[in-house]
Symmetry: C2
Subunit: 454 residues, 2 copies
């Protein structure tokens, strides 16, 4: 095993050069104009899996972007791990806030800067390279490995769900290994056992049937921007609680043990506020920031647009205004039920002076993972060996929507071995990935395969 680790250590520079090529491909899944680049990225992943030594590699076409599958099943009697990740990335706007172009990777202070660096290309690449190291040094893997790398994670993994249903045998495994979450802090080995879900909606308010002069008509007609603002304002009460009926009905409370675990993390609210550049934190009254982001459901506007938004002044009353509004969900909220309650409530609070159209853009279930499975124990040992430190167990505020499907469809436990950091600007300008964590991730992945094979 030490030889595998040595091989990984001595090949860092090559890994980084290869990762750069991966990051150069603008595989933005939400924008139709990047479709060809997303395809090119699938081909890149496919060729890297072949080069790593996987015996079967296949690109599966879908109604959306392609799925890349790889397998090596040369260890009969040993368990099978399915490694999941995604090669698609978020859009790059606002582009003018990037210090370097998002698809021209730059290394600075031990970090690689590019869209997708930490979410999720850098993390996918760790496992490809750990597999490769085993083949190069030992000629085989200590257990059976399957890869499923998708191109639609950032837009709701819509093709993966039916693909799993249709390929239960192909994807059959004993555990699913995913690196798409974050370490608790720099250099701290971390396993994530909870994820929030999502209900992402769009609300379009239409007032007058055309844009109007705000002087001639202002004051006598429902202004869709004002009405939309009033609707949004009504979605929280003065204690920061979401006002949608039945929103909190199925929310699980934190256990005593979890509360104790959270205390051990010594989270600093002050440092958190400073890092975000805000004078005061806010959120649901009576909860800490960790609880607000890990354990409590929330509602945020992700975008809003209406009327004249250029330079200068235009005295117009817009015909339409639109907002994207998403809710982060926690166990045991159901995204479809929440989307339905949201829709009913918005319709109820919208005045008759305007029309409203509500769309459910996508949803994801929240997740809680049991900590006593063999795979979790193996992952704990692997990360503690790689980092030389005691592991911490955390939850995470984001979603990896597909985890629920793996758990439900494949009846396999899931290991969330994330090597990112929440400060690495995922979904923001200047996204980056700590290259030391990239290295430790490859080593953790290799140790996991060994530990889980025992």
């Amino acid at each position: 095993m030490q030889e595998v680790i040595n091989y990984i250590e001595s090949n860092q520079q090559n890994y980084i050069e290869e990762l750069k090529e991966f990051l150069k491909i603008p595989s933005i899944s939400t924008s139709i104009e990047f479709k060809d680049e997303v395809n090119r990225c699938a081909n890149f992943v496919s060729s890297k899996l072949k080069d790593a030594g996987m015996s079967r590699v296949e690109i599966f076409k879908t109604e959306g972007h392609p799925l890349v599958y790889g397998e090596w099943l040369g260890a009969p009697g040993k368990p099978t791990v399915l490694i999941y990740g995604h090669y698609d990335v978020q859009p790059v706007d606002p582009i003018d806030l990037w210090d370097s172009p998002p698809f021209e990777p730059v290394i600075k202070d031990g970090k690689i800067f590019a869209r997708g660096a930490t979410d999720d290309k850098g993390q996918v690449f760790m496992h490809i390279k750990s597999v490769e190291a085993f083949f190069k040094v030992e000629g085989s893997l200590p257990l059976n490995v399957k890869f499923i790398i998708e191109g639609e994670e950032e837009i709701g993994s819509e093709s993966l769900e039916p693909f799993i249903n249709q390929h239960l045998d192909l994807l059959k495994c004993d555990t699913v290994l995913i690196s798409d979450t974050a370490l608790y802090d720099v250099g701290i080995p971390t396993l994530t056992y909870g994820l929030r879900g999502l209900a992402y909606m769009e609300v379009e308010v239409t007032g007058p049937q055309r844009d109007l002069h705000s002087g001639t008509f202002g004051g006598a007609v429902g202004n869709p921007i004002n009405v939309l603002a009033e609707i949004i304002a009504k979605l929280h009460d003065k204690n920061g609680r979401v006002t949608i009926p039945h929103f909190y009905d199925n929310v699980l409370s934190l256990t005593k043990k979890e509360k104790e675990n959270f205390k051990l993390l010594k989270f600093s609210e002050k440092k958190f506020a400073k890092e975000l550049g805000v004078a005061e934190l806010t959120g649901e009254k009576g909860f800490s920031s960790l609880e607000r982001t890990w354990v409590r459901p929330t509602l945020d506007c992700n975008g809003i647009i209406g009327g004249f938004t250029g330079q200068g002044a235009k005295t117009v009353i817009a015909s339409k205004a639109t907002a994207k509004i998403s809710m982060r969900l926690v166990p045991n909220q159901d995204p479809a039920k929440i989307a339905n309650e949201f829709t009913k409530y918005i319709k109820k609070i919208t005045p008759k002076t305007v029309k409203v159209k509500i769309q459910n853009l996508h949803g994801a279930y929240p997740v809680l993972i049991p900590l006593n499975d063999h795979s979790t124990v193996a992952a704990t040992k692997a990360m503690e060996k790689a980092f030389g430190k005691k592991i911490v167990f955390i939850r995470e505020g984001g979603s990896v929507p597909i985890v629920t499907s793996f758990v439900k469809k494949l009846k396999a436990p899931t290991v969330l071995m994330g090597l990112g950091l929440n400060t690495e600007n995922l979904h923001s300008p200047n996204e980056h990935f700590n290259l030391n964590h990239f290295r430790l991730g490859i080593i953790s992945s290799a140790y996991f395969m060994k530990e889980y094979s025992l």
Copy 2:
């Protein structure tokens, strides 16, 4: 006089062709990229004034867009009328809602469609053509005429104000004639005696110092879009009244005589709602739509933007969100005082979880014009002759910011002889101008010069 009218009647087709050339110039004053076109438009107006017969025509450069001045002072002992108008136009977005390109004039059903058709190029052109008709038929005008046609009306007439101060002699006159308002209805001769003022503000809310992942951070940090929505929602109470302290302090009530006049107009709320395509009208409780748009001050969002506004879903919490918010003012509200109260109130209601920046983009005083002046009497006779109908007296919800300056600086009464219609989509896609009103406007202008010279 009949010969002048006959000349005007027989030259309609030429006038329309010339107006088309005027409308083809995209003189959008708010957009820096159209600066050259604005200049080209000033040259066009200048050449048309020369062709019409004005003895002195001059383009005055300003810090913004140029002013076009013209004069003919060949009637000593007769009064002098200063004709004001503007050659700049509003932006064209949303461009995809135009049935034909905004700067390629099209005639359909007796209307000419183009940006600026009714606001204000078509109306400016009426006076140039009435002057021309006098020169062609009689070789002279019945009174002294000055023109001042500006290129910044749509962005607050910032250069005209200092120009007036510096050129009080040049602009000296007995009355100011302006056609930049609307007829009460198709074919109804109308004089406007009241205009609303304006305070146009921009509010920018900044939350976290960078865009954040809404999963990882959602629920624990002030979301600038949600906060901005809450601020906007707080600007009205449940009766549709603006909540800014001292907002209504100086608002004049409608006189009994005005109330009676309004009743004579037989305004149909139902027709108004239908024309706007809304199921229900709304506004300040206890007032009719005419009162809401003519006599009561209001507050409207003219634009809002923040976060992800493209197709699909992006799970982001934006760093910034911005709204343009304007208030229509009525006598005797003061735009500077109102802007100040607005700024104080927004600062007061903004939570400490975000930063707020407030800009005053521009302001305009409200106006009330006395109806017993010689110029108003002459305008009444002129329009009644041209239209062959009894005139109506109305107010108007929009602003012609410069009217106050004329009244205050030049000590001259003002005639608001507007030939537009509020249904002509000014500031909206598919702006147009009724060509019969264009014709009647040229005739009204000619009769006014005659009547006012007597």
